[in-house]
Symmetry: D2
């Protein structure tokens, strides 16, 4: 960290700041410029805890040099992490496809979706049972009943499963039925819930919040990892901007940025950002071309019959054609994806 | 709701959409324009549940006409709501001042803060015990220990109290110690938690999320109200924008907008948005001038010693001078605030 | 357009609004719902000119149904436009590569860049002569001197050329040297300049402004087209959001959105959005995978020696390797691009 | 400026960076931390011109310490600037009110507006003659004809005048008729135009662009000042965010931020941000309470008859009542404003 002193800061003020730093066990390196004096702070910034240096006399501002996260960063672990979920490896050479309906609605629907997505090349089945909806009057999910159906579909097809958890209670319930937890965008800074899944032993797909910077997102991963669970898969799903032609603005630049700052795998959810099936295809292709480790896509055996987010769910035929494209794009970017069962 | 049909939509397609609407118990009103046919949907849109009209053949888009919230809206209750908390009336003629430290740190600190803010004119004491922090390595609050100290300060001064809750567990614990719950910006769309405080009988200060539109914010209030708890106080605290000179951009336009769309009281938290004590004064004055029903301000007996958000907490003298200004501005906008004990 | 009346609007108010519409030559279609009465306006909204209907008694709000642009829209021209510039066809089957340095710096630099990008497969050479820079103390371009060098490089290689224009004067000067004008992001709503290039007979690359919605961007195109110049090529180059890890957030969703709303070709500039060469490659591949008609990329024979935006310019080797990838991705999305001279 | 070296940067790399800095005439101060080495650059950063240090081997990133503007900053001129326009002092003790219609429409309208706003306390009359409109089909202003009417209204009332300029030509024409130029939000980074008004001798109201940071805004002022024209009045008018309930989000925090970073006066335009007359009053009061040096407000003798932006223009009665409030708020914040002629 760098401390920038005010233009007219006195020697006494400089001394006082230095003393505080040294008392905290940190090294101090003073550099006098033509217009400002700056102090380089040497050592682990966390030793400062929450000492409010910015309030000390003569201090103009603090400039962080290092990232605020540790376990999630490339400095901590330079080589990429591969998360192995019962043999499915996320973050390795293979592009992993996660697909299924927005919400589990009934037995036939989830079974139909599972068979369809497996046929084209998915390894993991998604399906919401606890749905966070903007309005309290919208369909909120089948809860445990839905998880049972999801598990049946998993047993029938051999697909792994992922579902969103939204509270302590749902973590407990879902733990018995699914292989991977998902933290949704609206809970991406629900630190209580992050700690909760951090204490579990299941891998976690951590969606980026709609207004979460990449730095904050990696700090959210840090919450999970600091509890001992290192199996975190980041998921870009669009950020909130002024543009309203799409529901959110899919930030594909985040993929190479994450790759340079973190060792964690990063996948992309084009369905929620696009909000319309016709945009999901080009954005899926683009995500893999940008270097994503996988995709999570909404597929419904009959989109027109869906109880939530109908407009953005693909039908099985469209999903199948997408998988064919992904196989070819994966190869161009030095990855692989096997179309078909 | 209006359904806009595509340029070449056929009579059959028009008929099919009409039938779906009529079967749902809704009225249909067709209007053929020079370039588009549109369908006016008459009746309660919620009868449609989640029928995906936008996927029907010939449909271009849906245009909502009414708000998606009900209980929180002016149409439901035209006159302003006044929330009475043990005699302190929020949303009435009086400007209500809520003040206190970011976090409860120890007995002397919260007692000192309570006495100071009471002296200048606060009615409610704030103090965090469960702190959601971006980094897992920052100070996270004293939890129940902190709430005990808050209660002692309340008993010693007669101030009412408010604290942030972040989980089911914290709601249960806090319920025994404080008068008002606060939902923080990061949990403003944690629907599980909203329902939880909705089932309680305590008033709730609902902060706006950093990327929550006013419509979504009112829907969050709807979650609380739909559980039977109508004592919701909205709190503007800054939204996330591209500007980084302040931590968030305080959206004071939200105050008159809320006043025109909702009957709920709205207060303003200038401390978190500004991120710096020197900006808190002008923004507090501006908030009351814009029509806010109250302010929630961070005051610490010794900002330099604070364990969190030190830079934005006012010292008692500055707070005192602010209260004098507020007394005068309140009068100009036809409200009242009594400076002093 | 739909006019939504207030809850208690009277028959007289409804009548008055209808009369105004009818007097303007528009049709009126009234639809009485359970909570609101709405008026469908039939005919060309432009007949209303600027009649402030929203100020009439009883009117709650206006809801536009049609887009505000005309010539730029799919309704006006359903099939995609192909812009032919001396035989190079933009918007057709072929992906068109535009490459070259941020700014023309000297004869050797632009000549080196031209030869390098031609070798790998560019058809058009870019090079700035009038540079809009945030600070007045940064390098501002060589102006006419630079354009002469650009022309020499064009004559030596057979590449077409494009340069940014920033004023009437620069349009006049550039007209003698280049084949295509570029309107930069900061001038994307400089309507005076848009009209100016609209009156010229040269094709125009119209960059999206950093905070311009897709609707406003198409209206900017409309300014150019309404002067008679239909050769407009849209260029997505990143929008301003809260995220600062990249200079701007490249909005690749804009590509399929433009394809559905407009007939104009759309290319992507990944260099300015990314701000760093290492992100340019994945984003370029992603742009073509998302359906872009071409790319405009900054390539400098020696990025380290560049006088502006050094960090984001590719060296010739990296550009060459990118072109190989683009050839393969083009094929997957049903387009073609020929790597090499 | 600080240069942060990569974790494994070698001594040779460190040396090479140092040499480049020293050759540019800058001092070098090296500080080795536990995880990173940083280099403090001592001297005027502009000596570096555009040397791309971020591309040198071993360099991770550059961290600016000083602002990029000079003349507009508090360091250059610590005391506030007062711009005197024919006796009207902007930035001094007095709050200056600028009012008038969005556009000059005809003789009676501008004369009516001028008399009305003068009566309640305006010192400067606004009125657009060159209107930048999103759609080319909207009313674009009366140009020179309008300026003549504006001047007549000025002569009849003694009010000073301000009008927006949008091109070299309009600067030349307007120079003969008005006292102050205005640069609109869409041209706030039209550097060519900024230089043009910088070369004139008239004061300039510089609106903030809808997506311009405060730092960029001050750099835009720097463009005008670097040409020798120091009479710049900044004007906050709302920024573009995700919120659509108001046209733009008025950033009142910008007022105290500007006051701490710059010596230039700052006024507020609540009309364009709010987009609705009913929000203009509370936001005007708030702006003065936040420390603004003046207001620029749209007032039309008959808002219903206006040819542009009708919804946001105040009628004379509402404006009159606002002026009474401003007189009282000015006093509370230690300023003065005289209601009435």
């Amino acid at each position: 960290m760098i401390i920038v002193m005010k233009p007219g800061a006195t020697e006494t003020e400089l001394k006082e700041v230095s003393t505080v730093l040294e008392n905290a066990g940190l090294g101090v390196h003073i550099s006098k410029g033509s217009e400002r004096t700056i102090i380089g702070v040497i050592g682990d910034k966390r030793l400062l805890r929450d000492i409010p240096l910015e309030l000390m006399q003569g201090v103009e501002k603090l400039v962080p040099i290092m990232e605020s996260y540790k376990l999630a960063g490339r400095t901590f672990k330079p080589e990429p992490s591969v998360i192995d979920v019962c043999g499915v490896r996320i973050g390795g050479a293979e592009i992993v496809m996660i697909a299924g309906p927005c919400a589990v609605e009934n037995h036939d629907q989830i079974m139909g979706a599972a068979k369809a997505v497996k046929k084209s090349g998915a390894k993991i089945l998604r399906g919401g049972a606890f749905k966070p909806r903007t309005s309290p009057y919208s369909f909120q999910g089948l809860e445990e009943e839905g998880l049972k159906m999801l598990k049946e579909a998993s047993e029938a097809t051999g697909l792994l499963t992922v579902t969103e958890v939204i509270s302590e209670h749902s973590v407990e319930v879902a733990a018995e039925y699914v292989d991977i937890f998902q933290i949704g965008a609206r809970n991406s800074q629900n630190f209580h819930l992050l700690r909760e899944v951090g204490r579990s032993h299941k891998p976690v797909i951590l969606k980026r919040g709609a207004s979460t910077t990449i730095e904050e997102w990696l700090n959210a991963a840090e919450y999970i990892m600091s509890e001992g669970n290192y199996s975190v898969i980041l998921c870009e799903r669009g950020i909130r901007t002024f543009e309203t032609a799409t529901r959110n603005t899919l930030d594909l630049s985040a993929v190479p940025v994450i790759k340079s700052k973190s060792h964690l795998p990063v996948i992309v959810d084009p369905s929620h950002a696009a909000g319309r099936a016709q945009y999901v295809l080009p954005l899926s292709r683009a995500a893999v071309a940008a270097g994503a480790d996988g995709l999570i896509i909404e597929v419904h055996p009959c989109p027109k019959c869906a109880l939530s987010d109908a407009a953005q769910q693909l039908d099985p035929e469209t999903y199948d054609s997408l998988c064919k494209d992904i196989e070819k794009i994966a190869e161009i970017v030095g990855r692989k994806f096997k179309y078909g069962e």
